[in-house]
Symmetry: C2
Subunit: 347 residues, 2 copies
């Protein structure tokens, strides 16, 4: 396939085209992913999430710039930015956020920016984001910054893709207890209080540190991120990190508008990457991520096959009886799932 060869040789237009196919889950997209998958698995995936208005996009820009300026252009890590907006119907390219970014990063062939928009469902978006990330990884991007807009389950799902998850807050963004309750601290490897030049920054830092101490973070570091890991018995065989090797998420302060604190953030990300590799958690997270992706795909395939083999009439009949409350949902399910093979019409 020449598209794949073009991508592997660094053709940006081929890459953009392929990403569209992969996002839309076309047969060509799937074929490309099949071919590209063996070339992926080298990038450091970094998820960036947090409350709206915390300044995520600006901080992601600064991170990208910092990586690109860490060495001469041809030696510096290549950086891809995947901006995921579950609520946006726009996808693929030149949304406003990207244009703003371009002023800083335009013309640098070592930077690739991609917007991901709603795929109709959170699950669909997480699946598409995972696939896009694999393609960028195969295309040779060393650092992939996955930025999610908004907060909620979608962010948690998308954060599961990353090796390192950065959670960004801003001073006075509301009740910190809520942030903890929302489970956002659960997924943080690094916490950032951005807009640290604003009043209240110290309070926010303190609240986050307290929350971390209350939240038994040490226990967390011993577990892989995915929730399907228990299925794979080999997980239990791998060495658990020693007590001294637990990761307590650092709380950093930044002012993304000026770049203040970006260097410290890059160092923390580097330390986290070294920690993951030293403790074998890097591999665990890869495993959890790929298994989650696999089980999502299996579920989708099972449902698809079920739909194909189910007679329309059967489905309509069962739904009708359900709506009339003649049968319960469980009775409806056993009627529908038993009816797997194509069959003669019911009378």
């Amino acid at each position: 396939m020449t598209l794949v060869a073009d991508i592997l040789s660094g053709d940006r237009l081929a890459l953009a085209r392929c990403l569209t196919q992969v996002e839309n889950d076309t047969p060509q997209g799937r074929a490309a992913l099949d071919e590209l998958f063996p070339h992926a698995g080298r990038a450091h995936l970094i998820g960036i999430t947090g409350s709206s208005g915390a300044g995520k996009s600006t901080l992601v820009n600064q991170l990208a710039l910092a990586y690109r300026r860490s060495a001469p252009r041809d030696k510096a890590p290549r950086v891809a930015i995947v901006a995921v907006d579950p609520s946006s119907p726009f996808s693929g390219g030149a949304i406003l956020g990207d244009r703003v970014r371009m002023r800083d990063l335009a013309g640098d062939p070592g930077v690739f920016i991609r917007s991901m928009a709603s795929r109709g469902s959170v699950g669909g978006l997480a699946r598409a984001t995972a696939a896009v990330t694999e393609v960028l990884d195969a295309a040779g991007y060393d650092i992939i910054l996955i930025e999610t807009v908004g907060a909620g389950q979608s962010e948690v799902d998308i954060a599961r893709l990353a090796h390192t998850t950065i959670v960004i807050e801003a001073p006075g963004m509301g009740d910190d207890i809520q942030a903890i309750k929302a489970g956002i601290l659960e997924i943080a490897d690094i916490l950032v209080v951005n807009k640290a030049d604003r009043p209240g920054a110290e309070n926010t830092v303190r609240a986050l540190r307290n929350a971390l101490e209350l939240g038994h973070p040490a226990a967390r570091a011993m577990q892989p991120k995915g929730h399907h890991a228990a299925l794979e018995s080999q997980t239990a065989e791998s060495a658990a990190p020693a007590e001294s090797e637990l990761w307590l998420p650092p709380v950093l302060v930044t002012v993304a508008s000026t770049g203040e604190g970006t260097a410290e953030l890059v160092s923390a990300v580097q330390r986290h990457s070294e920690y993951l590799k030293r403790t074998d958690l890097w591999k665990e997270r890869e495993r959890a991520r790929l298994q989650t992706a696999l089980e999502d795909l299996v579920t989708a395939a099972l449902v698809e096959r079920w739909r194909e083999t189910l007679a329309d009439e059967t489905y309509r009949h069962v739904v009708h009886r359900l709506l009339e409350r003649k049968i319960s949902p469980f009775e409806a399910v056993s009627g529908l799932v038993r009816d797997q093979k194509p069959r003669n019409r019911p009378d």
Copy 2:
């Protein structure tokens, strides 16, 4: 089954026990739901969601009180409150929020309060909430207030359960544009600015009204809430509401701590209920809700059956090759889904 008979005769302890079984999805819970399902379908399900700190719980209390005081105790609508917290590990009963509630509502046999906590996944929680709602409906509660803590996809999923969805904001709770982006306005039938005695309330009301006008709300009212409705061709046959029958979500103001505005909110809910019934949208929402529930259960059943029939060894082998990037996720899926029937060990 005596448990079911006890529930139908108004036994609160039997109800509480049954809800625990249903929440935990035990065989007894499923059997009870099968028996209770034909008795349900009469309650008005009201979802209450919105930003954290907006005062949802207090407003839900006030709503419950208002319903209970609308007539003599034995004539007033019976009210159930289902408080759903996707981030809480506590469930079933006496969490702090419930205790606080009890001061107002304690001892009233026409009120039943239930907390729902995390079921490990958002999908699981939405499923459990739907089941709990059916039981309360069958048990004769006329008004079921489903309150979701937090904001995000989980709220949207849970809101899909309701006939009427109330979205609560508070003044100065951050960027209103974000609220719109988060899709929360999409699901609102009634908008409430609570804590209306605080500065900035008028601005919030204005921002929400502007957002509604920009958001083409009229188009929305013509569609059922569920996203699976397209599957059911009968949907298209039902009468679409006339132009004059579109519902523009009202923006109300309340001060839940004093009860101010609660009466107006109850009236708006009543108007919405009449609107739904007049336009047949009530039935449409029931249909969409039950179909969504059905398809979730079907998916769970398909995955369960797949797991049961899949040889552990096959699964482990495929995952191993995936992790080594010898096969792509799609190739892995075709290996796993083809392998449906119990089979001899691969060598």
